[in-house]
Subunit: 256 residues, 2 copies
DNA sequence: ATAATAGTGTCTTTTAGACAGTATATT
DNA sequence: AATATACTGTCTAAAAGACACTATTAT
């Protein structure tokens, strides 16, 4: 302990926490080709990565990946490390969103848990799925994890909170891009948004995004080396314009 | 410790945190009547409440109010309790916004700090100002606290983060109401918003809020018992319509 | 009359929103 | 020819935005 000082500080006489873990809610969107007559958009589903616990408490139950923080690292670093160690995922979008500290939430003692969510493109999880024992690490549809699965600790609550947070951010930040390739069509974008926020309905989505001064600069059309619009027909007969996020963010407001 | 179990759990062999405090960034907006010829809107300024530390470390320096969490309470309860104990403030808007856990941030050891912000109407701080010793608890303009004051720990960073968060929320949630009476004029509302977000400029603010279907239901006009529009001339010769927040929140979106 | 805030009139441009229709290329 | 996605035409209504103008009333 760093106690080499001349004061009468006596924190040690108080009860201190038994641990401060980071838990990570890892979301991905899986996409499955549809068995249709011609090219079509894939079926997409929001999934969460869970780990089967191997030790007490809640042994054998599904839980969020995570682990205890060390004195030499920040909580964010803990989360990054655990993400890498437990799932092999690295360098993805990750945000801290809440602390879980209710008394009695962990039978091991006074454990204050710090919850992150990560948004991972399915391609980063492909390698992992092959390597890991599927019985110990698995993806579940979020709706199923919330309703049909009994999760360890208060992880159901954490997952539920994370989902709310991601839904919110989905419409207000460009995080949809985390589930998309660098270049995507507006049809794909719309589909990804709807996968996370099902009640987002915009009849004229494509038209609106194309007008409104390129939607205030959030997106931009991709052009090839000759300055010609770059298009893709991966999901459709008629080729669709490709877009990318610019990084620009208009300030949304209740008042403007 | 809650260790009455039959497992070989051995958290105690690992280093555990030396404390998990909650720190609270308490914002208020002061208003001072202007010495003008006729009635006018007051001068408003965003302020933060700080406490002068009486013990090591950082003895004598200004710091955010806060204190250590106990095993029997959640972090949120800790924050509420400290808010009440240290400043006498209760029942105000308070939100958790981040954790500060960088190694070495506290000379007392491994201290993981949980930061909240509170938004307090100045009327709640009036009583306190009289009771407390001004040398130990004081309000500072936020800009001054960030530039001219040297704060204890990493509290400058925490304050800075809190300010960013409140600026964001100001335009996207109805928290402006926390700094206003229940019934307010659009002039007051505009002034409060600008006090927190100086670069929010809306030439036609009042007009816009009155049109656009009552701004999507965020605000509503106040009517008196006879159904007549209720007005106030507290800040102007010509009486202005009074409004209140409805609690309705339109969903903002980059895409709609 | 002046000051300080609270509005309104008027006009142009942009956006929203609905809905039918056309475009493209694979099967 | 049917299919699945990607658009475009056309219209109407609503909102944004600029800016000059009027309204109110304590001093």
């Amino acid at each position: 302990m760093t106690m080499e000082n001349g004061s009468n500080y006596t924190a040690s006489k108080y009860r201190t926490p038994d641990g401060a873990p980071a838990d990570i809610v890892i979301f991905t969107i899986t996409s499955e080709p549809q068995p249709t007559a011609t090219k079509s958009l894939p079926k997409r589903e929001l999934q969460v990565l869970l780990i089967k616990r191997k030790v007490w408490p809640y042994e054998g139950m599904w839980a969020l990946p995570g682990g205890f923080s060390r004195e030499t690292e920040s909580m964010y670093e803990t989360a990054r490390r655990e993400l890498q160690e437990e799932t092999g995922v690295d360098g993805v979008h990750m945000e801290y969103f809440n602390v879980y500290s209710g008394p009695g939430r962990d039978p091991r003692g006074w454990i204050i848990s710090h919850a992150f969510f990560a948004l991972v493109h399915e391609k980063y999880l492909a390698a992992r799925a092959a390597a890991d024992d599927a019985a110990e690490v698995a993806l579940f549809p979020v709706s199923e994890a919330l309703t049909r699965l009994e999760l360890a600790f208060d992880h159901r609550r954490i997952l539920s909170d994370a989902l709310e947070r991601v839904k919110q951010s989905m419409l207000v930040t460009p995080i949809a891009g985390e589930f998309l390739p660098d270049e995507f069509t507006l049809g794909e974008l719309y589909q990804v948004i709807r996968t996370v926020v099902p009640d987002f309905e915009e009849a004229n989505f494509i038209r609106k995004m194309k007008s409104t001064q390129s939607r205030s600069g959030v997106l931009e059309e991709i052009r090839d080396v000759n300055g010609e619009p770059k298009k893709s027909n991966r999901y459709s007969q008629r080729a669709a314009q490709l877009y990318r996020f610019t990084g620009n963010l208009p300030k949304l407001s209740l008042y403007s």
